[in-house]
Amino acid sequence: MLELIVISTLNGVLYGMLLFLMASGLTVIFSMLGVLNFAHASFYMLGAFFGFQISRWVGFWPALLIAPLLAGAIGAAVERYGLRRVHKNGHVAELLFTFGLAFAIEEIVQIIWGKSPVDFRVPPLLDFPAFTIFSTNYPAFKMFMLLVSVAIFLGLLLALKKTRIGLIVQAALTHPHMVGHLGHNVGRIFMLVFGVGTALAAVAGVIAGPALVTQSNMAGLLGPILFVVVVVGGLGSLPGAFIASLLIGLLQTFAVSMNASLAGLLGPLSPDLAQSWLSDIWNVTIAQIAPIMPYLLLVLVLIFRPMGLLGTRDT
C-alpha cells in the first residue's frame, strides 16, 4: 500500500508537471490574446515527432533543444500570419482557426509519420533505473522528465517575476490595451508569447515522447484534458492552472492503480445486481473510469464553482 502511494504520487506529480508545462503556455496565451489555442496539444505532438525525427539524425540531446525551437518558430508564424489576420473576425473565428489548424496538423503528421506509433526510445544515457523503492525500479528518464519540468517551471516563475519582459507580460495579462498605450509593441509581444508557449508544449512533447506513446492521436487524447485543466483552474489564472494540473495528474494516476468497484465493495449485499442492466456500473473498476476522471472533476467544479478554482474573470 505504501509502495503504491509513493510510486503513484511520483508519477502523478510528474504527469501534473507535464500538464502544467502545456497549460502554462495555454493560459498565458489565452490571457493575452483572448483566444484559447485549440492547437496547443498539436504543438505538443509536433514536439514529440520533431524530437523523434531529429534524435534519429543527430541524437536526443540536440533534439531536446532544436525540436522546441522549431515548433516555437512554427507557433510564432501561426500567430503572425494566421491568428493576427483572423483577429478582426472575432473570437469565434480565432478559436475555429486554431481548431482547423489542430485538424490539419493531425492529418499532416499522419501523412508523414503514419498512424501507428513510432519507435521513440529513451536515450541510452538515461536508460537505467534511478533507484529502487519497495522492489519497484523507478526509471531515470522519468526523474529527468520531472527535473526538466520543474526547472522550466522555476525558470518561468523567475522570468515572469524578475525580468522586464516578464513584467510586461504580466501587465498585458490583465491590461493589454494599457500596455499598448504605454508604447510597447504588443504585436511583437503576442508573437513572442505564442512562440514561447508553443515551444514549452513542444518541450513537454520531446520529454514525454519516449516515456508515453508517440502517435498521431496523442494530441487528440491530451487536448481535451488540457482544456479541462485550464477551465478547472480558472481561465486565465496561472496559479489555478498549476493547482489543477497537479490535481488532475494525481487524480488520474491514483485512479489507474485502484482496482475497487461497486461490486467489490457492496457485492455481497446484493449479488443479483451484477446480472441486471446495471451490471456495467456495478462491475466497472475505478481504474477503468480513470480516463473520464478529469471530466467528472470538470462537472463537479462547474456545479459548485463555475468560474474555476482560482478564476475571477467571466469571459
Binding site: 473570437h91 481548431f99 481535451p224 477551465v231
Partner: protein, 433 residues
C-alpha cells in the same frame, strides 16, 4: 415615444410577400417529392438521405452557434444519444409488438436529445464564450468515453443494430427500400426545417440573438441570459436527437462514433462553411460538405487534409461562409454595379487556381513518398496521372505555388479596390447597403 411603438409593430406583410414566402416552402416540398423521380439510382438516394440528416443536424447546431453565439464542440452527444435510443426503441417496439410505426421513432430520438440537453445544458450554459466551448468539449469527452465503458447499453466498439422493417406498416410501407427511407428523411427534414425557421421568429429566437450580441444588455432588460442559453441549448439538443435517430434508422446501427469528436467537428465544419449568419447557411453547408466528403474520398486518400485546409481558408478569408460570400454581392446587384467587379474576379481567379493546383501537386507527391514509397511513382490524383518522382513535377509545384501566391496577392488587392468602387457607386445609386 410614438416612433418606438410604430417601429415595434411592422405593417402586416403584403399579399405578394406572403405568396412569395409560402411559395418557397411549397416549392421545396415539391422538389423533395420529385427529386427521386429525376435521380433514382440507389447511390443518389442514399446521398440525399445523408444530406437531409446532415441538414437537420447542421441547422440544430446553428441554433447554438449562429443564433445564440455558443460555440459547441460536443453537439454530437445529443445526435448520438438520439440515435442509440432510437435503435433501442425499435428493438423494444419489435420485441413487445407495440403498434408504433417507424415514422414516429425520430420523435423518440428528439425526446432523448431534449432530455440530455436539459440535463447537461443547465451546467454547461452557465458560462458563455470560450469557457462554454471548452466545457462542451469536456462533457462530450465524458459521454463518449462513458459510452465505451457502459457496454451493455452502447454495445462497445461494435454498436447496437436493429431491423427497421419489422415495425407496424404504414400504407403498406415496411421501410426496407432506400426510396421509402428517403421519403421518411425528406418529410422529417421539411418539418424540422420549418420548425427551426419558426423558432427564429419567436420572441425566444429574438432573445437568443440578443444574448448573442449583448448579454449584459439582456440582463439589464430583465432576462436571464443563462436561462435563454439553456432554452436554446434544449431546442438544439431536441433537433440533433431527431437527426441522430434518422441516421440510426438509415444505417440500422448506432455505434460510439455517433457521439464522438469527429461527428461534432463535422457538424461544426458544415455549419461554418455554409455560413452561420443566415438561416439558409447551414443547409448550404450540409449539402456542400456531404458532397465534398463523398466526392473527395474517392479521388484522394488524404481528403481530410484538404477538408481541414479548406476550413482554415474559409475561417481566414470568408468568415461569413459560402452564403456570406454570396449575400455580400446583394447591394452590388441591386445597385447595378455587379459587372464592374466580375473582370477583376476573373483576373484573380487564375493565379489563385494556379496556387491551389501547385499545393495539391505538392501534397499528392509528398503523400506518395511517405505513404507508399515503394509503389510506381506514376500516380493519379483527381483522375490526372503524373510522375511523382520526376524533378519536373516538383519544380512545377514549387513554381505554381510561388508565382501563383505572388500574383494572387496582387490581383486580390485589385479586387478589393474594384469592390470598393463598385460599392460606392451602388450606394450613390440610392441603394442602402
Amino acid at each position: 415615444m410614438r416612433d418606438i411603438t410604430v417601429s415595434a409593430a411592422p405593417p402586416p406583410p403584403a399579399l405578394a410577400d406572403k405568396l412569395k414566402f409560402y411559395g418557397i416552402w411549397v416549392g421545396v416540398a415539391l422538389i423533395l417529392l420529385l427529386l427521386p423521380k429525376i435521380l433514382s439510382s440507389g447511390g443518389s438516394l442514399t446521398t440525399f438521405s445523408l444530406i437531409g440528416i446532415s441538414i437537420i443536424f447542421a441547422l440544430s447546431y446553428n441554433i447554438l452557434l449562429g443564433q445564440t453565439g455558443m460555440l459547441s464542440f460536443g453537439h454530437a452527444v445529443y445526435y448520438g444519444l438520439g440515435g442509440f435510443l432510437a435503435i433501442h426503441a425499435i428493438n423494444f417496439i419489435v420485441g413487445h409488438k407495440f403498434p408504433i410505426p417507424l415514422p414516429l421513432v425520430p420523435m423518440i430520438g428528439g425526446a432523448t436529445g431534449l432530455f440530455f440537453a436539459a440535463l447537461i445544458g443547465w451546467v454547461s450554459t452557465q458560462r458563455s464564450g470560450t469557457a462554454f466551448a471548452m466545457i462542451s468539449l469536456g462533457l462530450a469527452e465524458l459521454v463518449a468515453s462513458s459510452a465505451l465503458i457502459l457496454r451493455s447499453f452502447f454495445g462497445g466498439e461494435a454498436g447496437v443494430s436493429a431491423n427497421r422493417t419489422k415495425l407496424l406498416k404504414v400504407f403498406d410501407w415496411n421501410f426496407g427500400p432506400q426510396i421509402q427511407i428517403y421519403y421518411l428523411v425528406a418529410a422529417w427534414t421539411l418539418v424540422a426545417v420549418i420548425a427551426m425557421y419558426a423558432l427564429t421568429r419567436t420572441p425566444l429566437g429574438r432573445m437568443c440573438n440578443a444574448v448573442r450580441d449583448n448579454p449584459e444588455r439582456v440582463q439589464f432588460v430583465g432576462y436571464d441570459p443563462h436561462v435563454i442559453r439553456y432554452l436554446a441549448f434544449c431546442f438544439a439538443g431536441f433537433f440533433a436527437g431527431i437527426a441522430g435517430a434518422l441516421a440510426a434508422i438509415n444505417f440500422e446501427i448506432a455505434n460510439s462514433a455517433y457521439l464522438g469528436a469527429v461527428q461534432s467537428g463535422t457538424v461544426l465544419f458544415a455549419a461554418y462553411i455554409g455560413g452561420i449568419g443566415f438561416f439558409i447557411g447551414p443547409i448550404v453547408g450540409a449539402i456542400f460538405v456531404t458532397f465534398l466528403s463523398l466526392g473527395l474520398s474517392d479521388v484522394t486518400p488524404v481528403w481530410q487534409l484538404y477538408f481541414g485546409l479548406f476550413f482554415i481558408a474559409v475561417v481566414m478569408f470568408a468568415p461569413g461562409g459560402i452564403t456570406g460570400l454570396l449575400m455580400m454581392h446583394r447591394p452590388l446587384l441591386k445597385g447595378g454595379t455587379m459587372l464592374r467587379v466580375l473582370p477583376s474576379y476573373a483576373v484573380a481567379l487564375l493565379p489563385t487556381l494556379a496556387m491551389v493546383i501547385g499545393l495539391m501537386l505538392a501534397i499528392e507527391s509528398t503523400v506518395h513518398y511517405t505513404v507508399n514509397p515503394s509503389e510506381n511513382p506514376h500516380i493519379r490524383a483527381f483522375g490526372i496521372p503524373f510522375n511523382a518522382a520526376s524533378p519536373l513535377t516538383w519544380a512545377a509545384a514549387l513554381a505554381l505555388i510561388v508565382v501563383g501566391f505572388a500574383l494572387a496577392r496582387l490581383s486580390w488587392r485589385r479586387v478589393g479596390h474594384a469592390w470598393d468602387e463598385a460599392l460606392t457607386t451602388a450606394r450613390q445609386n440610392g441603394v442602402a447597403a
